[in-house]
Amino acid sequence: MKVFVEGVGIAGPGLNGWQASQPVLAGAAPYIDASVVIPPGDLLPSAERRRTGLPVKVSLAVGLEAIVNAQRNAAELPAIFASSAGDGENMHCILEMLANNGREVSPTRFHNSVHNAPSGYWSIATKSMQPSTSLTCYDESFVAGLIEAATQTLTSGNAVVLITYDATYPQPLHAARPISATFGVALVLTGNKTNRSLAELEIVISRKRNASTPIADAELEAIRVGTPAARSLPLLAALATLNSEKPQTPEKIARDKIAQAKICFDYIAGNQLNVVVRPC
């Protein structure tokens, strides 16, 4: 499958938005670990925003950033949400309530417990009545989301936004499911090349032959290994490297073509996902 990236959004430890993160991911600036910063302005009515947890805030922020970068209208794009973890803080509160006498569950906590809570808040925030799905594939949720998003844009002809996120679990759940960081990434994908395309992705599922592609920086590599949504980091690094020199010169494009990135992701059932990233 061949799809094109039009916009990227990112929020993670020390990674505050795509513009600031590109030099770090391209290896041109040092990585400095810091808490995740969620930019304000998620379009949600304030009554709704008060009810949302970190996963909703992260996924809305990266989704909107990718769509702004792609110069698209969020209300026109089908959205694919992929997460291994959902909202562990909210789930922990419900589980504590259920373990107590009385079992009084808060109605807001209950409706926030569905895996598609970010998708629901997204459609309210963006007023989008477009289709939206919410999927999971454990550690390979980003790869599953990328496959779903690629098949959606290729079969429908519409641009789509893929939003992948995970948030750390509180104890005691963390001991059973140790997700190392809160991380969100969004990609606006199209089936055809447009004048806004940043890169082409050629996506192929094959039987497992190779180890997954790491990311050079050791701290980012630890985040990649420990956080399912951050399995996307090598792809983001390739996109950052391709776009680190603007304007594009013929020499730069020729150099990029030679240096096209081949990224291998772990997938399920003895398979891997291979993505070749080419400049546009």
């Binding site: 209950f110 926030n112 009545m129 289709p131 799905t133 999971t136 594939c137 398979n271």
Partner: protein
Amino acid sequence: MRCDFLDIDLDTYVGRVSGLEDMPVRADLAAYDCRNNRLAQLGLEQGNFTEAVTVARQRYGRERIGVFLGTSTSGILDTELAYRQRDPETGALPKSFNYEGSHSCYSVADYVQRVLDLAGPALVVSTACSSSAKVFGTAARMIQAGLCDAAIVGGVDSLCLTTLYGFNSLGLISSRPCRPFDAERDGISIGEAASFVLLEKTSALMNSPLAAPDAVMLLGVGESSDAYHMSSPHPEGEGARLAIQAALQSAGLTSDDIDYINLHGTGTKANDAAEDKAVFNTFGSDTPCSSTKGATGHLLGAAGVTEAIICALSIQHGFMPGGLNTGHIDPTLKSAYLLKNKQQTLNFVLSNSLGFGGSNCSLVFGRMLERAGR
């Protein structure tokens, strides 16, 4: 039955599958043991499903068959019970607790893929009560994009405290068996189920002696979002109407072609009123429709595929099921709600699934011969 599940103290009825407590998962996959995966195992053992999958595996290869399942709460019951046994000093969960095999939302697809010895793409869609309708869309796209030749599509959701007490907190649980479209309806009855369908690519079956003569085709999928509220449907049913329209368009059909509609029809005041507006605004008041949740209860993440199977059976048997438990249809609802079973040849049927977060999906099914002849 009146709720007799664990120590639940709610005044409600549940559709509980008996025997799960004494039925472990396959021995070599004991790491996946939880109520939800036990229910999945029981579902896979019904009829000749595994035999049909074996034939498909031989025909297409194990890497060419996907597994796309819906669930809302997966094996969270294990975590709920583990939270009752936390270490009083450290707060830790018992050592026996296994997140990946139970609570993880993906665990049921992982388990089913292993049981059926498949190695194609797999994922779980979890969009509350539309989960196992939306997996039909995923499967159709995967097949269309050439990543699969066939797919196991299904849904598995099992009883747990989160949904029972959660829906209760919203005032959406009935103290009687649910009465969809009734003037006195007062909420849902929660059930549990595992339902599976083997979908195969059309080109492999059209005019093929391999196709069962009464095979049913998935003709259209339509999806939409309400953009309205997290736990209340759009009051005018606009999201549901968009999903219905998209499904008809994707099937290349018009509203006049549909012979029967299997409604989402949960039995809550808000759902049935909103869905009725969507159906009436699309089909008028002549197309027969009913909810089968009076018989099954609300199967949540397994509802979409279970009702898809009911639609397939309706087509195969020329049978429209009347809605159970409903005494007096709400006079403010305008759709042609069936109270009694009706025999009639059905060519095209539509099924609605509408979930929390405003996640809507409609599916259109039809006879293979009807479609081939068009």
